[in-house]
C-alpha cells in the first residue's frame, strides 16, 4: 500500500509541474462554464426592427412606439420605400420588417380592414418564430386596449401559462448542467488516457511494469490524481454556477454528488479503455477527441435537444454516457426532483462503468501476457 501512495504522489508531481497541463485541467473548465453560462444563450433580445409605414398616423406611431419600448426590440430604421424591404435583409442586420397598410387609422375605424404585415428573416428558425410571436403579442395587447368594449367576447379561452423550473426562460439553466458532462469527460477520460499512453510512448511504462507493483495498482495510481482533480473541478463548477451564473441546485446535493461520482468513475474507465487500445499520445487525443468529445457535444443533449433528432441519432445517443448524465443533472439541478426519478440514468451509468472497467482490465491483462 505504501508503494501505491508513492506512485500516486509521483503522478501528482507530473501534473503539478507541467504548467500547461495544469492550465488545461483547471483553467479550461472555468472558461467553458463561463462561456456556456453567459455567452451561449438563445434568448431573444436586441431584435433589430425596420418599419415601413406609409400611413404615418397616430395609431401606427403608437404601435411603433410600443414596440420600440419593449426590451426585446430596437426600431432602428424607418423605411420610406417599399422596394427597400427586400434589399435591407441582404445586409444581414435587420431581423424583422413591420409593414403597415395604407390609411391605417382610418381603415381601423371604418372598414375594420387595417392590416399589418410582419416580415421576419427566417434564417434562424426558432429566433424568427419567437420574434414574430412576441410582436404578435404586442399587437394583440394593443388591439385589446384599443377595443371599445372592455368585456370579453363569447367563447374566449384564457390560458394561464406556467413556466415550470425556469420562469425567466434563462438559457443557462439548460446549458450549465450539460457542460459538466463535457468537462468531467474531458478531464477524466481524455487526460487520463493521454497520461497513461505517454508512459507507454516514452517507455517508462515498461519500467513500472517490471517493478514489484501489481499492474492494476499502477493503473489505479494514474487515475487517482485525475479523480481528485475532477472533484476539485466539480466543486468549482458548482460554486460558479450557483454564485456567478445563478443557476441553483434545486435538488439534493447528495444525489448530485452520487451521480457525478458514478459519472467520473465511468469517465476514468473510458480513459483507461482508450489507453489500452492505442499506443501513441496522438492517437489517444484523436480517439478521445473524435470518439468521445464530438459525440458528447452533439448527441448528449448538451446543446441540441435529443428529442428533436431523427430516430437513428436518438438510438446512437443512447450509448453516449454523457447523455444520461446530462439528463439526470438537469432533473436534479434544475427540476429539483428526488433520486427516485433518476434511477434509470443512474442504473445505465453504473452498468456502463462496470462493463468498461471489466473490459479494460481484461484488455490490460491480455497485453501483459
Amino acid at each position: 500500500m505504501r508503494q501505491f501512495w508513492v506512485f500516486v504522489v509521483k503522478e501528482f508531481y507530473h501534473i503539478v509541474r507541467d504548467r500547461r497541463t495544469m492550465l488545461i485541467l483547471l483553467g479550461i473548465p472555468v472558461a467553458q462554464i463561463l462561456l456556456f453560462g453567459f455567452a451561449i444563450t438563445s434568448e431573444v433580445k436586441d431584435v433589430q426592427v425596420a418599419v415601413y409605414d406609409p400611413s404615418r398616423d397616430a395609431v401606427t406611431r403608437q404601435i411603433t412606439e410600443q414596440i420600440a419600448a419593449s426590451s426585446y426590440f430596437d426600431v432602428v430604421e424607418m423605411l420610406d420605400d417599399a422596394s427597400r424591404i427586400n434589399d435591407i435583409f441582404k445586409y444581414g442586420r435587420i431581423n424583422l420588417v413591420i409593414v403597415f397598410g395604407e390609411n391605417f387609422a382610418e381603415n381601423l375605424q371604418h372598414t375594420g380592414e387595417a392590416a399589418v404585415q410582419l416580415i421576419a428573416d427566417g434564417t434562424e428558425p426558432n429566433q424568427a418564430s419567437l420574434i414574430v410571436n412576441y410582436i404578435e403579442g404586442i399587437l394583440a395587447s394593443y388591439a385589446r386596449s384599443a377595443m371599445p368594449a372592455a368585456t370579453a367576447p363569447s367563447f374566449t379561452i384564457q390560458p394561464e401559462v406556467k413556466m415550470l423550473y425556469n420562469p425567466q426562460l434563462q438559457s443557462s439553466y439548460y446549458f450549465v448542467p450539460g457542460i459538466m458532462g463535457l468537462i468531467l469527460l474531458q478531464i477524466c477520460a481524455m487526460m487520463t488516457s493521454i497520461a497513461i499512453v505517454r508512459e507507454k510512448e516514452t517507455g517508462t511504462m515498461e519500467v513500472l511494469l517490471v517493478s514489484p507493483m501489481k499492474p492494476i495498482y499502477i493503473i489505479l495510481s494514474k487515475s487517482v490524481p485525475y479523480l481528485v482533480l475532477s472533484m476539485v473541478n466539480l466543486a468549482t463548477i458548482l460554486l460558479l454556477s450557483v454564485f456567478v451564473l445563478h443557476v441553483p441546485v434545486a435538488g439534493s446535493l447528495f444525489t448530485l454528488l452520487l451521480l457525478s461520482l458514478v459519472y467520473i468513475f465511468l469517465s476514468l474507465s473510458l480513459g483507461l479503455f482508450i489507453s489500452t487500445m492505442v499506443d501513441t499520445q496522438m492517437a489517444a487525443i484523436l480517439v478521445s477527441g473524435m470518439g468521445l468529445m464530438m459525440p458528447t457535444m452533439l448527441l448528449s443533449g448538451l446543446i441540441f435537444p435529443i428529442e428533436s433528432m431523427p430516430a437513428v441519432l436518438q438510438w446512437v445517443s443512447a450509448v453516449v454516457p454523457a447523455r444520461w448524465y446530462v439528463e439526470a443533472m438537469k432533473k436534479i439541478m434544475v427540476q429539483g426532483v428526488g433520486i427516485e426519478y433518476v434511477l434509470t440514468e443512474l442504473g445505465i451509468l453504473t452498468g456502463m462503468a462496470t462493463v468498461l472497467v471489466v473490459l479494460s482490465l481484461k484488455k490490460f491483462n491480455v497485453r501483459l501476457n
Partner: protein
Amino acid sequence: MLKFLIEKEFKQLSRDKVIPRLIVMLTLLVMFVFPWAADQEIKNVKLHVVDRDRSSLSERLVQKVVSSGYFRLSGPSASYDGAMPAVERGDADMIMEIPSGFERDLMRGETGRLLLAANAVNGTKGGLATSYMAAIVADYSADLRAENGLPALSSAFKVESSFRFNPRLDYKVFMLPALMVMLMTLLAGFLPALNIVAEKESGTIEQINVTPVPKTLFVLAKLIPYWIIGFVVLSLCIALAALVYGIYPTGSLLTIYLFTTVYIWLVSGMGLVISNYSDTIQQAMFVMFFFIMVFILMSGLFTPVSSMPQWAQAITAINPLKYFMQVMRQVYLKGSGFMELLPQFFALCSFAVVLSVWAVVSYKKSA
C-alpha cells in the same frame, strides 16, 4: 524548389494513416450527422392532458391540439399533481389542465379557463411550445364562434406574418452553410498547423533549416496542399448540400469562393501562429482545441450572437468565424452580393493580414 517540396507534402499526405481518414470522416460528419443533430426545431412536444371537464368541448380541444402536429399525447392523468411526476421523470414536456366547468363557462358566455404548465428547463422549447398552444387555443375559440353563428372576432386589425428566406423554417438550411465554415477552419487551419509541429517534433525541420530553402517557401509548400483540399472539400460540400438536401446558394458561387479564398488564407495564418508557439503536437492540439471551441461557440453557429450579453458580443468582433459564417449564411439564404458583404470582407481581410504578419514575425523569432 517549391515543386519538390509540394511533391513531398503530397506523398507524405497520401501515406499518412490518420489525416486522409480524418478529412473524410470530418466531412461526412459535418454533412450528414451535424445537420440532423443540430436541429433545434421544436416538434413532438410530449403533452400530458388533465381533462377534468370530460365534455365534448374539452375533448374537441384536445383533438385539435393533437392534430396540429406539434404535440404528442404522452398520457392522460386524473389530476395536475398526478401529472407532475411525468414531467419530473421527463416523460412529459407540458401539462394542459382543463378545469371542470370548462364547457359550462364557455356556453354561458364566460371566459373559459385553461392551465398550461411547460417544462422550461429548455427555455426556447418551453416558450415556443406555449406560444404554439396559445395560437391553437385562439384558433379553437374562433372555430367555436363561427359554429355558433357569431361574427369573427373583430380583432382590431389583421396581422399577417411571413418568414423570408427560409419559409419552412428548416434548421438544415440554416446550419449547413455555417457548418461548412467550421469544416474549412479545421481543414485549412488545424491540420497544416499540426503538420508543421509534427516536423518540429521529429526534427526534420532542422534538416530543412540548414538547406537554402527559404522559410516562407517551406511553409508555403506545407499550406498549398491544404488549400487545395479546402477548396475540393468545399466544392464537394456545396454539391452534397444541393444533391442530398436540395439546398443551393441563392447568391453567387463566385462570392462564396472569393470569401473562401480570403478565409482559407486567414485560418492558415492562424494555424501557423499556433504552430510557432508550440513545440509538441500535444501542446498544439490543446491550444487549438481551446481556441476552436471558443471560436465556434461564439460564432453564432449554434446560438445567435445577438442573444449574448454585450461584453460577449464585443468579444465576437475579433472572431473571424463569425464573419465568414455570416457571409455563408447570407449568400446561401438571402442571396447577398459582394457589395452587401463589404464590412465582412474588410474584417476578414484585416484578420488575414494581421495573422500573416504575426505568423511571419513569430516564425522568425522561433528560429
